[in-house]
Every structure is written in C-alpha cells, then in structure tokens.
Symmetry: C2
Subunit: 302 residues, 2 copies
C-alpha cells in the first residue's frame, strides 16, 4: 500500500493519530475514576492536541519491519503519556512558567500547581503500568516487553529527557556553545524520539541490522525535529504554534538560529534529513512513512 | 538462622539497611555524572536517612519464601527510589510546603523548586530503568520482571500513591470521615508497602497460596504503619520524627487520633498487627523478620 503512487502523508497521519487517540482514551482511567480531579487533569493534557509525533514514529518504525500494529499500540500510547507528563512539568511556574500550550491554558492554569505536578507524576507512572500490562500487546515476549521498558525509561530519565531539561533550564540567560545546545536537544527531545523508533523496531521484530539502521534514522530525525522547531520559533506566526512567537528568544534560551544563523540552521536541518533518508537505504516501501515524516519535519521550517 | 533464640530485630534491620544503601549507591548515577546538579539532588534525598521500610519489607517477604537476596535487591532499591521521589514532590511549596524532612532541609530548600521537581521525576524514572535492567537480578524470568514492574507502577500511580496524595491534599482543612481517611492511607502509603511485600514474594518464587497470605500481611501492615504514624505525630517529640510535632494537626490534616481518639487508634493499630500476624500463620521461622517488623511498626506508637 505504501508503494502506491497515490499514497499521501496527510491522510496517513490522520489515520494514525486517530488510532493513537482512540487507544489513549481506552487505556487512560476515565475522567470520573476516583480521584476524578486527577484523572480529569491527566486527560486534559493528553487530549489537548499535539501531533502525536512520537507514537506515530513508533508505529511507522514497527511498520517499516512489517510488525504488528496491535502489538505496538500500548507502547505508542505510553510514550505519548511520557511526553504529556514532560510538557505539564516543563510548563510549571518553577520551570518555564508558560500559560499557554498549543493555544490552550496549561495544566496548572486550569487545575492549579499541585494537581499539575501530580497529573504529571500520574501520567509518567501510568505509562509504565501500560507498558507492563501483559493483557495488552498479546504475543509480545516478556523479554521484549522488558527491553522496551528499559529503552523508554532510560531515554526519559536523568541521563535522557530529564537531564536535557535540567541543562536547558540551567542555560537560560547564559551564552552557551553549540555542543551544549546539541546536548540539550539530543537529551531533552532527541532521546525520546529515538526511543520511539527503537521500540517500534524492537516490537516489530527487527533484525539487528534493521534495528541499527532505524536507530541511526531516529538520531538524525530527532535532532532535525529540534533544529526545525528552533527555526519555527523564530519565523512562525502565533496561530501556527499556539505559543508566543520568539518566546525562546525572549526567555534567553539558546537556539540554532541564534547560535549559527538562520541559513546555516536550515542547512543543518536538511543535512539531518538526508542522514535520516540514508539510514533507510536498505528498506523497501514499508519505510515510506518514515521517509515522508522526516521530510515533513524538516520542510515545515522552510 | 531466624529461628535462633538470640535473633534480634535491630542488628537484622541494620544489616538490611546497609545492604540497601550500598546497592542504592551502586545503582544510582554518580553525583558527578552530567547533569551533576540533578544527580547530586537525587542522591541528596535518597541518602537523607530514612528507615528503608519498603525495601526491608520486600527483602523480608522474599526471605519468607526462601528467595534469593541478590535477585530482590534491584527491586528493593527501585521501591526506595519511588518512595524518595514521592517525598520530594510532597514537600514542594505547591504541596505540603515543608522545609524539613528527617531533620534536614527538604530538597527544594537546598536545590530550588525546579531541580526538586526534576530530581523527583528522575528518581521515579530511574526506578523503572533499574527494574527493567536485565543485567541485574540475573536468573529472574522476564515475565516475573514485567509483573514486578506492573505491581510497582500500579501501586505508585494514579490509582495508588499519587491518587492518595491527591485526596489527602483535597481533604486538607476539611472535615473528612473514616472511609476517606482509610482511602488516603491505603492509597498514599499502604499501596506501596503492600507492593513491596507482593514483589518480594513474587521475586522469591512464592506459591499462589503464599502470595495471597503475604498480600494479606502487606495490607494489614501497611495500614498499621499509617495508624501508628498518625499516633506518633501527636505524641512524639520533634527530635524523634525530625518534623514539627503535631504538624498534621496544624495543617488541618485528618488523622486517626483526631477522628476516633488516641485510645481507639491504638486499639486499631494492635488489631491490624494481629491481622498481619495471622496472615503469617502457615509460615515458619523464615517469616520471623516480617512478624517482628509488624510488631516494631505498631509498638513504637505505644
């Protein structure tokens, strides 16, 4: 199907997003489950929009090795829950102190700071409840389940996403160099994106060679996403991103355009996209979604 | 050994605490690992003292079914990391706003609010890194590993500990009834204590019957611990607890003594201790530590 000339990214993404959101709705406790305020708050942020990039990438990686979509869906939802938790905590007054996220009031603006912290904690923990549920993803070997948990936890933890957020926070208002900026990006955003690809491949039953190639794709695509995001922050209009344009700059956050200029940032994004393409050289049409997503990630910043 | 007439709880606990603290030191990233501020902050709270009740109970449950101590040690450390994270977040200004914990400045007083939130997030996530590390607890079946993760995540999540914290927070300054108080205690503290026992039994290779008996022990001991803690908050001197005496009362938190009186609270604690004993009826001397810990938990409040 992915080889068909009339294959298009937009309907593909819409279909995947629908699958993920339906499954998230099934997997998350109801908004009326006690404590209702907590579950309402958790659901508020999970269903406040978003591109669902990480679950879509995980499913696309699984698809690239002809894996089973039903088996990857719980982990795809878990990674989105981890992503949602990180956004809730990043937005807190003690952190980035953001009032808006995707054009909507942030979690603590609606539910208060305490509940926002706990909703984040709840989502992070429920992600692992989901990942370790042996009634889901039937047929997946327990060993694979455990490996997926290990990869996701490592990428989200103090040597991954949380570590990246710390360095990002500590760099605010300071002049930082390119290696520090790359550290922030590869940890804060890149690690989880790369884990999405790695887990999708693993669940899909990738060979060691396929696995390595997909990790290379994930590393390049993850960084490309962040470079493109930095560029967008400078050039996009408010409506598109749902947050204040140039908000990174205002806050004194280092970005690629600020460090190496807009033109060179675009060059770097293109370079990373081509690296991602190259990693997929040995794959057939089943990797088409991965290729098109890499293009989409970068091209939106042109 | 546990049958010996000269067996004593105090040296047993000291030995177990030493084992857990040595292992925590091995398993946690060094304080110099980047980002150093984050790892320093995570270690500060993990090594700020504490009875290590949850890991000790997990190891004692494993011991009660003649399980292997090396296999239970990673999970024992993981549950202590989860407990530490919950204390860091509970102490935050947006939550209980505590300046002292076990006589030392709380995490956010030392490292600031943002880093305290992230140290909590880091500890919670690293617990799952540890639990899913197949290079540790060698010989443990992947299926068991996955079950342990499921039990711990569920007990710590929105239907367990985090849920209990939400209801506790929402009940502050309100008149609550006994069922609500029991909900708070069984979720906020009891769930993780019970999970400690359940996971210890599982890792130790308990039979279904032993597993059920130990879960009954865990439920009774978990609630007994909280009733005793409520009593201690009223009667203990500041030095003993390292926090303000009567601080629960000041904050308008409901406690057993406040709801049913001191004498009846002590009666309830004794009753729960006896329930915990009864659950261990079919066990031999290997369950002696569990029995003695149940006594110790309750008797310190007399």
């Amino acid at each position: 199907m992915n080889d068909a000339t009339d294959w298009q990214l937009k309907p593909y993404l819409q279909e995947r997003v629908r699958m993920v959101e339906d499954a998230l709705d099934r997997f998350l406790p109801r908004a009326t489950t006690l404590p209702a305020s907590l579950h309402d708050s958790m659901r508020y942020s999970v269903f406040a929009g978003g591109k669902r990039l990480r679950p879509v990438l995980m499913m696309a990686a699984c698809e690239a090795v002809d894996g089973n979509m039903e088996q990857v869906l719980p982990a795809a939802c878990a990674i989105e829950m981890i992503h949602s938790y990180s956004l809730i905590h990043d937005d807190l007054p003690a952190m980035d102190d953001d009032d808006l996220r995707r054009g909507k009031p942030t979690n603590h603006k609606v539910y208060g700071e305490a509940l926002a912290i706990l909703a984040g904690d709840g989502l992070l923990t429920e992600a692992f409840v989901l990942l370790s549920n042996s009634n889901l993803a039937k047929g997946l070997a327990a060993e694979t389940r455990s490996q997926v948990i290990h990869i996701l936890a490592k990428s989200a933890g103090s040597l991954g996403m949380v570590g990246g957020q710390v360095v990002d926070m500590e760099s605010e208002g300071k002049e930082i160099d390119l290696p520090t900026l790359e550290y922030i990006h590869t940890h804060k955003t890149g690690a989880l994106i790369c884990a999405a690809i790695e887990c999708g491949a693993l669940i899909g039953g990738a060979s060691a060679e396929q696995q390595q190639a997909l990790v290379r794709y994930g590393q390049a695509a993850g960084l490309a996403f962040q470079v493109a995001d930095d560029i967008l922050d400078i050039v996009a209009d408010q409506e598109l991103l749902g947050k204040d344009v140039g908000s990174d700059e205002e806050r004194g956050k280092a970005t690629y355009p600020a460090l190496i200029g807009l033109a060179e940032s675009r060059g770097r994004a293109r370079e990373l996209r081509d690296l991602a393409f190259a990693a997929l050289d040995s794959f057939d049409g089943s990797a088409r979604p991965l290729r098109e997503i890499a293009s989409y990630i970068v091209d939106r910043s042109f």
